[in-house]
């Protein structure tokens, strides 16, 4: 078995009595796109900073291709970072920004020129090398930041919420573009986000973090279909948590069904429709079960008049395989 590109072994970061990252173990495979997903304050950005070397861990070791680097300053680690605010050098042109890492590596001028042009072409900014960051749009700045991090061909690429400053449409485009670029270049990537949509679309694997720990590590389907903890279940997608025989059962709103008659098998509860939200592609039906619990059903919109109205009596049900015991 080959050495992972990046390995965290018992990494901890404490600030006084506060634990920002608690004993994290993680392996990122060569060429993998791994996402650290979690709410703000969960330790994901701190973990990224530890990998980059912006601060030292309180305990544990970090291995880059098997080499321990926890004691090395960032400029000796060979890691590319794209920051949330891009952190471009405002006094340099786009081309000079991209060339910076190569200049620091004392490459010959001719080679720098070739690689800068190549990198700018890769992010579709060929021809804008002479522009200053101030003269570029938000999306273009982001591409410069990406090219600047990629051009040094780092062992690992770190992306710190790079999409959160873009508007919605551009964000969705860049999701696909960055993920595509990453696969084409086969560059090992750690991506930090609080946006579960981004995480699901872009990642090979997702590490869901909470309170400084990794709650679950798995493929997007793993964490969505088989959440390991209640936190993961409610952080990724939406979830109904209901009581059944003294146990807690979790049911995704889109896997639940509504019917007028009692279904034959599986989980079934009688309920009253509270209100129906029309979302275009789907309808959201909010229910109050007879037990007093609330539940949500998401149904595709097939057109025609709504099947259920507020105040109606219905059966809320789910097949046994759609019920997760939590």
């Amino acid at each position: 078995m080959s050495e992972p590109a990046l390995r965290l072994a018992g990494i901890e970061k404490r600030y006084g009595a506060t634990v920002a990252v608690a004993a994290v173990d993680l392996e990122v495979r060569e060429g993998e796109f791994l996402t650290l997903l979690g709410p703000s304050g969960c330790g994901k950005t701190t973990t990224l900073g530890l990998i980059a070397g912006f601060f030292a861990p309180s305990a544990g070791e970090i291995f880059l291709k098997g080499r321990p680097v926890a004691g090395l300053p960032p400029f000796r680690r060979d890691i590319g970072v794209v920051f949330q605010d891009y952190a471009l050098f405002p006094h340099m042109t786009a081309g000079e920004n991209v060339a910076f890492g190569l200049r620091m590596r004392s490459l010959p001028k001719a080679e720098i020129q070739v690689r800068v042009n190549e990198a700018l072409g890769l992010v579709q900014l060929a021809g804008l090398a002479e522009r200053r960051p101030l003269e570029l749009s938000g999306g273009q700045r982001q591409r410069v930041a990406l090219a600047r991090a990629l051009v040094i061909r780092p062992t690992v690429l770190l992306l710190d919420e790079p999409l959160s400053n873009l508007d919605l449409k551009l964000r969705e485009e860049m999701r696909v573009e960055i993920a595509g670029l990453q696969r084409r270049l086969g560059i090992t990537t750690v991506f930090v986000t609080h946006d579960q949509g981004e995480a699901l679309v872009m990642s090979d694997r997702i590490a869901v973090m909470n309170a400084g720990r990794i709650e679950q590590l798995g493929t997007p389907a793993d964490v969505y279909e088989r959440p390991a903890t209640r936190f993961v279940a409610q952080f990724i997608g939406r979830m109904n948590f209901l009581q059944a025989d003294g146990k807690s059962v979790a049911i995704r709103p889109e896997r639940a069904q509504l019917a007028r008659e009692r279904p034959n098998s599986g989980f079934a509860r009688q309920a009253t429709v509270r209100h129906v939200l029309y979302l275009g592609a789907t309808l959201e039906v909010h229910l109050e079960l007879d037990s007093g619990e609330r539940a949500l059903v998401e149904a595709p919109n097939h057109g025609g008049p709504a099947r259920f109205q507020a105040g109606e009596r219905v059966w809320f049900s789910a097949s046994p395989e759609s019920c997760l015991e939590m």
Binding site: A52, G53, F54, P73, P74, F75, R77, D78, I79, G80, V81, F83, D85, Y86, A87, L88, F89, P90, H91, F100, G101, M104, R105, P133, L134, R141, R148, A149, I152, L158
Partner: protein
């Protein structure tokens, strides 16, 4: 009715009158033909300007230029590490350092001058009274200006650019050289210019630390006033006034100093 804009315009006009009026009057007086400082001037002559070019005046002027230049360079060099430490780090004794650095700003330079004079005398450094003592004193009173402007420019650095440089392989020193200094350049230059002007125009402190042959122009002018306000003095005053103004104008043209004083252009 007086609108706010009209009132503001009035204030601006008054400010200009009180700022430029004395200068223009002094300049006019220096061209008097008689040896009395009259305004409006009687006749026209350049004799007072000729006298102002004598070593008696040129030497202290040159002395002041040297003193102010050296003060500007040294206080800026001192201000850089000081501003870095104060702006970036929390350490024991930081408050004391802030007070010490900015203290001279609150203290009348006169008091600092008397204190320094006593220090030099009692410490057996009497021989250093003159240029050396003046240099030390001027650095003390100019440092707050330099530290403040550098510290302010450090705060305007875009966040993360230093981390970005580090991640791209730049050591601490190269990050400073290639990223931090270019971005705070106008702050450093502004600090140096403030220090130069403050040193060049100081009289309160200099009066205590000068000695014959090592006299700044301001002290020389003050001494000469005992004999009344001769038109020579008017000519010297105009030169003394124009020198720092010219410096500020040149620096502003080259570096866009105005950006720093009147607020930065948009930053990324």
């Amino acid at each position: 009715m007086v609108t706010p804009w009209a009132a503001l315009r009035g204030v601006v006009v008054l400010v200009y009158i009180f700022m430029l009026g004395p200068i223009l009057i002094t300049a006019a007086v220096s061209f008097n033909q008689s040896n009395r400082s009259q305004f409006p001037p009687q006749g026209f002559s350049l004799q007072w300007w000729q006298r102002a070019m004598a070593p008696e005046w040129v030497d202290p002027l040159w002395f002041s230029l040297k003193l102010a230049s050296l003060t500007a360079v040294l206080s800026t060099l001192l201000a850089l590490p000081l501003a870095f430490a104060l702006a970036r780090y929390r350490f024991r004794g930081r408050e004391a350092m802030v007070a010490l650095t900015l203290g001279p700003l609150m203290l009348p330079a006169l008091v600092t001058g008397v204190g320094l004079l006593q220090l030099f005398q009692y410490a057996g450094l009497r021989d250093y009274i003159g240029f050396t003592a003046l240099l030390v004193g001027h650095i003390v009173i100019c440092l707050p200006f330099a530290v403040r402007t550098v510290a302010i420019s450090l705060h305007t650095l875009p966040p993360n650019v230093e981390l970005a440089a580090a991640s791209l392989g730049a050591s601490r020193a190269r990050t400073l050289w290639h990223v931090v200094f270019p971005l705070i350049k106008s702050g450093i230059i502004a600090g140096a210019v403030f220090a130069f002007v403050h040193s060049f125009t100081d009289v309160n402190l200099s009066i205590f630390l000068a000695r014959p042959g090592e006299v700044p122009i301001t002290v020389k002018i003050l001494g000469f006033l005992e004999f009344g306000f001769a038109p020579t003095l008017a000519a010297v005053s105009v030169i003394t006034l124009l020198l720092p103004l010219a410096l500020v104008a040149i620096v502003q043209r080259i570096t866009g100093l105005g950006d720093f004083i009147y607020g930065q252009r948009e930053r990324v």
